[in-house]
Symmetry: C2
DNA sequence: CCTTGACCCTCCCTCGGGGGGAGGGTTTTT
DNA sequence: AAAAACCCTCCCCCCGAGGGAGGGTCAAGG
């Protein structure tokens, strides 16, 4: 029995367009072509070939690959090593997609956390916990900070365990400022120019600063005033925790940035 | 600072071609175009935009989507629901790939099993185990068999637990043959026209038949002869187990088909 | 016999995300 | 002043189809 292309398309559930395409690619050549009108005629023996093509296509083989398989193989076990390769390829792709999925999930998680957070904007006294961190100390403008944060995250490779923060010495030299960017991590991490250490627990006075970083001086002022009014003794550097800053993608609205400043006291 | 396209390409790690393409798509428009020579000049403020594009591209967003995001969003949390959608999309794709991977693994497993198997071609006496099966009984030519096997596998949906076999009555009518195709399954499975039941354990004489199905009569003959010579009493139907038949893809070499014929005896 | 509608043909355009290269102009370095 | 390095536009290529134009062919019904 011979079928015209339309019927053959119905039988094989391939589109007429695809069938013509496969003909051009010599992937599925009609048994006969009418020399008068150019009509394609398909024998029923081609149905199984069409089935093979459909199956291989569903398995993500390209038409080119399918053609090679059909040319060189006549038995399942000759195909098996090609199939193994394809499986590997698919596994690789799954891995890549999973890693993207992971990143996206992380982002969504983070966003959720930040969403409805209310922040107290009064000075509080807190106990901080011990923290394993990696850090980079740098000199230069604050605007370089982002660069180092990137480095830290890269070095941490997913072992990050908290928000980034900076440490500033109590007696900072404003002409030649020095800062340390830190990232809490789960495990020890190594990297060029990266220091791993543990920050001890301690008592701090803390203040949430909402707004852009260039107005953060005011909040420092408040902390210092509070320290002086209450005759507290400062025992360590300032810690500036970036709770919500520029996003992953967009800088966002600086008026909504949230930072926490901590001053270590006795 | 202004950069020419080549330098900007180095900075952003995008290709010159891509940059020109992004310009055409109004995705990343140069800050200035020299009206004399048409050179594109990129401001450093475009670097972050380029970074966003790179990141989104790595997350599998299309350029079109990226353009929409850049047009309508200025803050991470406005993008978050788009990202959620993308995550869903990626999960869907992972699922699809995993299902393909599963099928391929199954195939590879099967092939491995068949690979170096040696078969005894002498009559043996065996005890068979109890078996849960689904089955379809049909009348008509043996060649329809494949169709029903397909149905069984479809109905089993991965719950298949062994090789397909046929059951033939001891007193088959050769003019109007009736056969039952069976597939062992792990759990009960339902489907239209499909029967689920348990085949009891039993004693059988068994013979491996190697070669195409149309010569299988010889092997039946041998079994019957053996039964008669040893005065055994047949107590159930013939069971014809298809150990290695036409492959998933290709019919393969019929001379290498392997079947086992079992005859239930007391 | 003619029309109508269902088929069929070839040829070209479109999608995405660029790469390769031709052909020609400009800038920078030697 | 020449050579090398850049830049431009324009066109074709990849893949696996789908859409549609423009034209030929076949079967059924009036």
């Amino acid at each position: 029995m011979e079928y015209r292309i339309g019927d053959f398309a119905l039988i094989t559930r391939l589109s007429v367009k695809s069938l013509r395409n496969y003909h051009d690619l010599e992937l599925l050549t009609p048994t006969r072509i009418d020399s008068e009108n150019g009509y394609r005629f398909y024998d029923e023996s081609l149905i199984s070939r069409a089935r093979i093509i459909t199956v291989l296509k569903a398995w993500n083989f390209s038409l080119q690959e399918i053609r090679e398989i059909l040319e060189s193989c006549s038995d399942d076990h000759e195909v098996i090593h090609i199939i193994k390769q394809k499986k590997q390829e698919i596994q690789t792709r799954i891995k890549a997609l999973k890693s993207i999925e992971g990143e996206l999930s992380l982002l969504i998680e983070n966003e959720k956390e930040n969403k409805d957070m209310k922040y107290k904007t009064e000075i509080e006294i807190k106990e901080t916990e011990e923290l394993n961190i990696i850090s980079i100390t740098y000199k230069g403008p604050f605007s370089d900070c982002g660069k180092y944060i990137g480095k830290l995250y890269k070095a941490a490779k997913g072992k990050a365990a908290g928000k980034v923060f900076s440490l500033y010495s109590e007696d900072v030299n404003h002409d030649d400022p020095e800062g340390t960017v830190c990232l809490p991590v789960k495990k020890e991490v190594e990297g060029p120019g990266i220091e791993y250490r543990t920050i001890p627990a301690g008592k701090v006075i803390s203040l949430i600063h909402i707004g852009p970083y260039d107005t953060i001086g005011n909040s420092y002022q408040k902390l210092v005033d509070y320290r002086n009014e209450n005759s507290l003794e400062q025992t360590g550097p300032y810690r500036e925790i970036y709770i919500k800053g520029p996003g992953f993608l967009f800088p966002g609205n600086p008026a909504k940035y949230v930072s926490e400043i901590q001053m270590y006291i006795k």
